[in-house]
């Protein structure tokens, strides 16, 4: 990502979107976890994949 991920802003926004109540004493840990996920996800997102690579999920009708 070109701009640093703002985990605090993301958590506060998504808590409302997802209807999650986060106690004040939990919030720093939730934000830290969100930052960790963003950091590791960036490693995945930065890997170039061919357009034809499909998700490795399985569904049989």
């Amino acid at each position: 990502m070109s701009k640093p991920f703002d985990a605090e802003a993301h958590v506060r926004h998504m808590a409302k979107v997802m209807e999650l109540t986060i106690a004040a004493e939990w919030e720093p840990t939730v934000i830290a976890n969100m930052q960790t996920t963003a950091t590791v996800a960036e490693l995945v997102l930065s890997f170039p994949l061919d357009d034809h690579v499909e998700p490795a999920t399985k569904f049989e009708a």
């Binding site: 999650l20 986060i22 939990w26 934000i31 996920t37 996800a41 995945v44 490795a56």
Partner: protein, 468 residues
């Protein structure tokens, strides 16, 4: 006799019961007595099923008397408490699930164990909802390491590790999403098998992350793992992810040895961020196997990152209802990871699943060049209980999530792995080596682990009685 044989491997117990040198009831009574004497200190069993165990033992003895000894006759075993046990509430390490009604039927794999003549002593402790590598539990306390009770058993199948290493049982069934069979196997010095993804049914077990969940056995010998694996295979329509495959007869294949197998050591990612014992254990195994080649598992760090992303978001989706209504009833460490998991953008997760397809294909290609890859199971020996941070390669990082750094990239590819326990010269604690095989070739990993055991390179002794 029976108290002595309780500490022997499962295949020796089954042979003794089948030959009527002892009885399943005598072994079961010895197991119950040992559990009652040691569990208060070690914290393994949460849901003992002693009445059931004695009834199962009597049924086995009757079958033996009739000349129909089953393959796991009288083998005492435990199950991680995310397996359904008929009549028992499946707690999955949680407080919340204790409000559920008791399970109406046994999990598919427990049914298989019963058919094979094994005797269930009960459900054992685990990290809450399996989101754990420590063996610590906020509600039930920690399952401790029998080799050093000041240390972690490893998670999340911690009670499985504790119960076998302490000699309470000969085997256990655990689950492994990112390393939860291999980590306690490493910390407690046991053989553990994480089969190929979608091989063994997960029917009747409480899920963590369906895209990555595996079930499998832990025991004190590679032969035991083979016996258990052969008994556990079978098609189950209640596991929608299971792939129907021909049954693999691994026990019969053990004596084929390692001749002709191309065995390599994983380099790069798997030689970094670990304590010296992790790499020394791999080198010890490699020397015993005459493996001199090194291979690079492509993009292992990204594989771990993708597994992390899928795990946190998928498990959060499973728990969203209770995160909204009962957040205070979770283990705080688990809750705060699940809440952040509920906020992961969908595109990150889908990209991780796309990467998984790429990575699977890359590993398939790698396994055209080799048959077995060796790698550390954990970056260090069992940590002291309560350890919060570790320093690896000069970088201080949180301990909990990094215990699984070497396990996670392998399960992400769904490959079968046997964790084999190594005792380095002078070491007071064991550490595991991952013996990794191509998809659907559990037989190869078991043959190599068996060779390591036969040559004395790997061993899974019961912890000294004074410690346990």
């Amino acid at each position: 006799m029976s108290s002595e044989i309780l500490f022997r491997p499962a295949h020796e117990i089954a042979a003794a019961v089948a030959a009527r040198r002892t009885t399943a009831r005598a072994v079961t009574e010895a197991a119950i007595a040992h559990i009652e004497a040691t569990n208060g200190k070690l914290g393994a069993f949460t849901d003992p099923t002693f009445g059931r165990a004695l009834a199962e033992a009597d049924a086995v003895d009757a079958a033996v008397a009739a000349g129909n000894a089953p393959p796991l006759a009288g083998v005492p075993y435990s199950v991680k408490n995310l397996f359904d046990i008929e009549g028992v509430v499946t707690r999955a390490g949680s407080k919340i699930n204790r409000d559920n009604p008791p399970a109406k039927a046994d999990a598919f794999l427990i049914q298989k164990m019963k058919t094979a003549g094994a005797v269930l002593l009960g459900g054992v402790n685990m990290g809450e909802y399996a989101y754990d590598f420590t063996g610590e539990n906020a509600h039930d306390g920690a399952s401790l390491n029998p080799h050093d009770t000041g240390r972690m058993s490893g998670g999340s199948s911690g009670g499985s590790g504790t119960s076998i290493a302490a000699g309470m049982v000969a085997a256990s069934l655990g689950s492994d999403t990112n390393g939860s069979i291999r980590v306690p196997s490493s910390f407690c010095g046991l053989f553990g098998l994480k089969p190929t993804f979608a091989r063994l049914s997960r029917g009747g077990s409480f899920p963590f992350c369906a895209s990555l969940d595996h079930l499998g056995p832990l025991a004190r010998s590679a032969r035991d793992l083979a016996l258990l694996f052969d008994a556990l295979q079978g098609d189950d329509p209640n596991d929608p992810a299971q792939v129907v495959r021909p049954k693999l007869a691994t026990t019969a294949a053990l004596n084929r040895g390692i001749d002709g197998l191309r065995i390599a050591v994983a380099g790069g990612y798997f030689r970094e961020r670990g304590e010296p014992e992790a790499f020394a254990a791999v080198d010890t195994a490699a020397k015993a196997l005459d493996a001199t080649r090194e291979v690079i598992v492509p993009e292992a760090a990204r594989a771990r990152a993708a597994a992390y992303t899928i795990t946190t978001s998928e498990s959060a989706a499973l728990h969203l209802r209770h995160l909204r209504t009962r957040p205070g009833d979770y283990d705080p460490d688990v809750r705060d990871r699940l809440i952040s998991g509920a906020m992961v953008p969908a595109t990150w997760v889908i990209q991780a699943h796309r990467f998984r397809a790429w990575y699977r294909d890359a590993l398939r290609k790698l396994f055209t060049e080799v048959d077995i890859i060796l790698a550390p199971a954990t970056p260090f020996h069992a940590l002291e209980s309560g350890t919060k941070t570790v320093t690896l390669d000069g970088v201080t990082m949180p301990a909990r999530p990094n215990i699984g750094i070497f396990a996670q990239p392998i399960s992400f590819a769904g490959l079968p792995v046997v964790a084999a326990p190594i005792w380095l010269p002078g070491a007071q604690l064991p550490i595991g080596v991952q013996v990794i095989a191509p998809a659907w070739r559990e037989d190869l990993a078991l043959r190599v682990a068996h060779h390591l055991e036969e040559t004395g390179t790997a061993a899974a002794p019961v912890a000294a009685r004074e410690a346990a």
